[in-house]
Symmetry: D2
Subunit: 434 residues, 4 copies
């Protein structure tokens, strides 16, 4: 199975825990997609951690397996014997309710289980899972189904992280190693950036549907929005280059105080993975070093950079409510997603309405990541999934070229600290003025 053929239709399979057949069908598909994404990564590279935020590919393969072993097999299969008691600690990411965790910033020192043992771990758990899924009675299923569904979406999140993390790993090397060869590409010019009008009103944000959503997308609630306008496409590399060339990284006036501190402490002069050599700008990609495409969306910027650029450009970032409302109001069209195998943001297409809504780049919003009104942390270890991280992070919307298309939806909330740059994160502008 090749990643480029990951079926978009998986989305239907992943939408509802009550559709047991769909979910049982989805399990092997999702698991196989993970393997497919990991397949270009050699066993050697799969062990490397290039910074604390990055996890080795091998760890992702094992941790997603640990999730099913811990929350499904150990819970619902009385005969289950742990594959290895050490794994409980080694592959627990952050669940205090489960127990101790191997230090996150030392995952790159973890030599065992090795790649073969991790694949074996996946296989053992998959066999047991498929067996359990077919054998479970209705009562068991009513409890198992929802956690299975979470587990599959969780695995998709790690599919994206496999890509962003290995990109960071490979970027440490002066030889600019290639994860996979680039697909052929036509040079396209980006369309003009239009300002789409969104009149004021009281709107419903978040989901109340029965279809799958993470707890952080609930409950649906009302939000008043003043009149605003939102950009028809994301900011391009060419536009962002203006900011650089006009001294944006040298002038404190565009920046939040913490942002300015970060710029100076890290000597930032451009987005992550931008390389200036021989008088021109290049960009490290999963296909190696490539010339900077001025028409493609700017990518690998932090919230600080997104916010500073917006100020420079005379606009601002949209709030997450504005973003969610705007895509309901206007025609939308997608950009590149993981299933396309492009693995780089694509130039916006011509047309009407909001382009690049799904994929290409995650779009930083102006919204700190907070619980929705009425949000309640779920009981048990799964309650640690989202709630405890609702602090000191910002919401991003829309997915990126590394996000599986079956994983995203209008109410989806991603979140990272404001200095994070290793995700495919970009900028869409908004304006309050009329």
């Amino acid at each position: 199975m090749d990643v480029t053929t990951l079926p978009r239709q998986t989305a239907a399979l992943l939408s509802n825990s009550e559709d047991r057949d769909a979910l049982v069908a989805a399990y092997p598909l999702v698991r196989a997609a993970t393997m497919s994404l990991a397949s270009p990564v050699s066993a050697q590279d799969a062990a490397i951690q290039s910074m604390p935020d990055v996890s080795p590919t091998r760890w992702h393969l094992a941790h997603t397996t640990w999730f099913f072993e811990t929350f499904v097999l150990k819970t619902f299969d009385p005969s289950w014997q742990p594959v290895d008691p050490d794994y409980e600690v080694l592959f627990n990411s952050y669940y205090n309710a489960i127990g101790e965790q191997f230090p996150r910033d030392l995952r790159g020192t973890m030599t065992r289980p090795n790649a073969e043992e991790v694949l074996d771990y996946r296989a053992q758990v998959d066999v047991a899972m498929m067996s359990l899924l077919s054998a479970a009675d209705a009562t068991t299923w009513s409890k198992l189904g929802p956690i299975l569904l979470v587990g599959l979406h969780h695995e998709q999140q790690h599919q994206e992280l496999i890509l962003t993390d290995i990109k960071h790993v490979l970027a440490q090397n002066p030889s600019w190693p290639i994860y996979r060869e680039a697909l052929p590409d036509d040079a396209i010019e980006a369309p003009a950036q239009e300002r789409l009008v969104c009149p004021e009103g009281l709107f419903r944000i978040g989901t109340s549907g029965r279809e799958f959503a993470f707890d952080n997308e609930r409950p649906q609630h009302k939000v008043w929005l003043d009149h605003y306008r939102i950009a028809s496409r994301c900011v391009t590399n060419g536009e962002y280059l203006q900011f650089i060339e006009k001294g944006g990284y040298q002038n404190s006036k565009w920046w939040l105080s913490l942002g300015w501190d970060t710029v100076r402490a890290n000597d930032w002069i451009a987005p992550l993975y931008w390389v200036h050599q021989e008088g021109a700008w290049w960009q490290f990609t999963l296909h190696g070093l490539m010339p900077l495409d001025l028409n493609a969306p700017v990518c690998h910027v932090s919230y600080f950079e997104a916010e500073a650029y917006a100020r420079f450009a005379g606009g601002r970032l949209p709030t997450e409510s504005e973003w969610e409302h705007a895509i309901a109001l206007h025609p939308i069209s997608p950009g590149a997603m993981a299933d396309d195998g492009r693995l780089q943001p694509a130039v916006a297409t011509a047309g009407r309405g909001m382009r690049q809504v799904w994929g290409d780049v995650w779009e930083w919003t102006a919204s700190p990541y907070t619980p929705y009104p009425g949000y309640v942390v779920p009981k048990g270890a799964v309650g640690e999934y989202n709630g405890k991280f609702m602090c000191q992070q910002y919401v991003l919307r829309g997915g990126s070229c590394a996000t599986p298309s079956s994983h995203i939806r209008p109410t989806y909330r991603n979140f990272f600290p404001p200095d994070a740059r290793w995700q495919f994160s970009g900028i869409r502008l908004a304006w309050s003025d009329r």
Copy 2:
């Protein structure tokens, strides 16, 4: 002039830059109140910085003076000669537009100007200010008035910091030095905590008035609030002690992830300034070490602790909009403020409605500090006053026992990072359930 007699009526003087007479009258009153607060601090103690967040008293006295010298005298008095060119750097807190700044965390190494020279600096600037204020023509005043008004409110902010900072400085000493003797106090029992009902609706938050407000309180905007309930008073030391005694600081399940990291990294086991000795809890205050008053509001807790306690207690923190709306909806009554000279939070009074709204403790809200919809950063150096700090902080409302009563108002937004504890910060609960 004694701090205990700081006239509450100063509030009227500080409300409008168009009332020139009032403002000219306010200037010496506010400046004198600062001196009064600094007067119990010896010249020796006034030089000490006990942690990076704390500034020496002497620095506060000089910096507030620098504000008037820089933004008023240098701007509006063509004949003004700087008192000392070094002061431009030494007492610039964070205004990049003005120039270089002496490193904030090294303010405790600043030996010159000494206390006498700083007092002389204040005197020179005050003389020149009074002269300029009386001589300015109407055109000048129209520009000078607004910045003067900001300067006076700025000075009041530093009045509070003088108190919180010297408290932290004195707390480093095993002999628990006294800033000022305590006023006599009657033992009172805290009234029961009621849940005041606030029905849903669309409300206006922030100010549109002509009276003084910081830029971060504008523009007024509409917010939809779901039905909620809010506590009639703040959480007491006795209630918080339950959290401690039931292992609150040892159980990750109550905490945000960053909060739990902070608790463990700093070995927190109780609020700042709580001291356990001889089998009982004591509290360091500006009056020295005193037995913990179980009926008084809990104080010197971080956002992390406030949020964890709220979860433990089955509630949550109110958003800043809920807080602002609730005090408009219900009868309110104040607590202790700086002018009372009590300098410790007082037990809530009996009665109806929301008590302790002004003073006693700043109340952490669930709201990250963000710009209001439509907010625009003001032009020039004063634009650095608020806007650039709207990141990674939380809003607190209501003022504390160290806040001048003429400084606070319903729309006032204070803000600190979630691990800050050296302010008089406490907890008011809210609930979403009906």
Copy 3:
């Protein structure tokens, strides 16, 4: 070629750059021994760096090759084309005269060249080296020979580091991975520790011989030594356990001030790799976790621990001059060395004189690492080999169970900072009293 058969006779081949035939014969033997030591390390494990002091196995394989490429091929072979220009930076350890260096603490993020590419690099350089060595004319050889000899001894140093570094890497894992199966072992009791008498006098220390020695062993010079006594064998695990059980790690009185700081900052309670579980002490070894052998020499202690133990035991560490003089004065016998394949320190043998002089454990001396009187730093990049590190380190003598036997000699000086524990470092006592 198996490591256990590494010929001791290589020593003869490595002693003199004028014996060209011997040296040309030694080159492939030494290079092959490196490969043999690396062979049990999987390509995956060979990439890992578990702390800044540790380098990945793969890096050692490449760096030793870089040494020959840089100092021999690039210098003496005019037709040489660099295998890869990036390698000049990636595998330069610390030679500022050569150019930039990849950051030492990030060697674990270096994904390219991968294991296969590094082996290919070795092969290319080896082919070119063998060709050059046979073709060089006498004039070239007179310059090439000495640097070749240094390169071979340099490679042997990295042979030892391959073992100590992979031990540290494997030790991070709760499953205690095995580098190689242990050889069969007889339980032996350690002989009594005798105090061998060494009368005072003026002695010659260091080498003046024509045989190979590093620059730091020269020039030979006179040292006056007072009467002293030196232990006949190294301190055992059983003896060291007394120090632990009598609270040695909890009592500041045994420790240097910096040592005590280090103990507390790192929560040291025993030597590195000691594991207390199920009521007993175990030791992590290259053969996995094994019961602590009370008769074997204590190992993986820092200078701080060696110095503190000596004080506890009523003795002191010998100076390096005393050590060197004592082995000339008394009969000596060796312990285990790398060629034995034991890879753990062995119990001292019965007999007379100084036992365990070569191998088993490096012996910390009381001597800071300083230049010998009259020492002059050699010209050129090779001058960076030793001289610039003569600061803030202590001398160790005698080699360990991970040292190739053909690498050691009486005047050999090893050196590490006083808190280093990942080498096979132990303790021999001395006494000043008569």
Copy 4:
């Protein structure tokens, strides 16, 4: 009593604990000299700590008093009541045997006791000491005398630190505050640097005398020295400027590896307190900012700089044995010391032999600070005085312009880490070549 009149003859009083009358006479003289040195420091400045190595003047005044209270009054006066139990912790520098210590790097946060209370503490202890000294019987004296003598030399060490520490405190200020006005000074040219010949031989180093010396100067022992030459005077600012101007701080080849790391991490480009402004070099002194005197000895250099300069200049640093032998072999003459009140190193005088032996600048030696052969740590808390610091420091010899002349002697060993620069530390060259 003025510091400039501190009697050189005090040396006689401080030499022998058996001369009770002399010692009793010395006590008030030494104590008064401390007060005299502190007198130009305002109570405000006396509280400041500008870096972890620096202690506030107030702390020095209290700590030296604590020494007598702890080791004399508490030990020998059964009726003694501690002045304040907190002082035991607050003013214990590093004596683990005595108990807990207030953190060294937070001494600048210690507000109590304030300056007046510290002076009162000194007075109380002095009264009790004088009373005890006169009343002690012979048996008591035989134990008390030696510790009293140590206490007086200890106090003299802190006299020097009062000067070096307040210099660092004042240097943080852009206004270059003055500790005391400079004495009038004649411009003198430095004499040529001669190389004084010292033939090889076996020499006695250290003291065996009955006169006072610290434990680290004992026991006397034999050292063989090869032929060497030593400079007749210290390196001048003018000579050191050559090193700077020829790119010494930009070229790794002169530096130890740790030294080069330190230069780059701290952006060193010149000695501490050198200021480049308006095209010329200035020097911050205790008399304020003064033009750099090219004839005076270079001062405030680290060991790293001294060692690098020596290599640049074609020489090396002398060992401490060489230094001690050379001053016995050649005529010697002193430089400026604390009693002269000059407080800056003076230009070397013309004449024969070794100049500037006492005073002007401490001279870095090539010798790591280690125990002399046969050294035994004294019993009890006083055993912590020297022994536990014999690690990772280098020996300096000869005293500086801030050292009391009655405090120094030929065998005196001072010691600091190799990156320390805030002492008056300079360079004397030596050469191994003939």
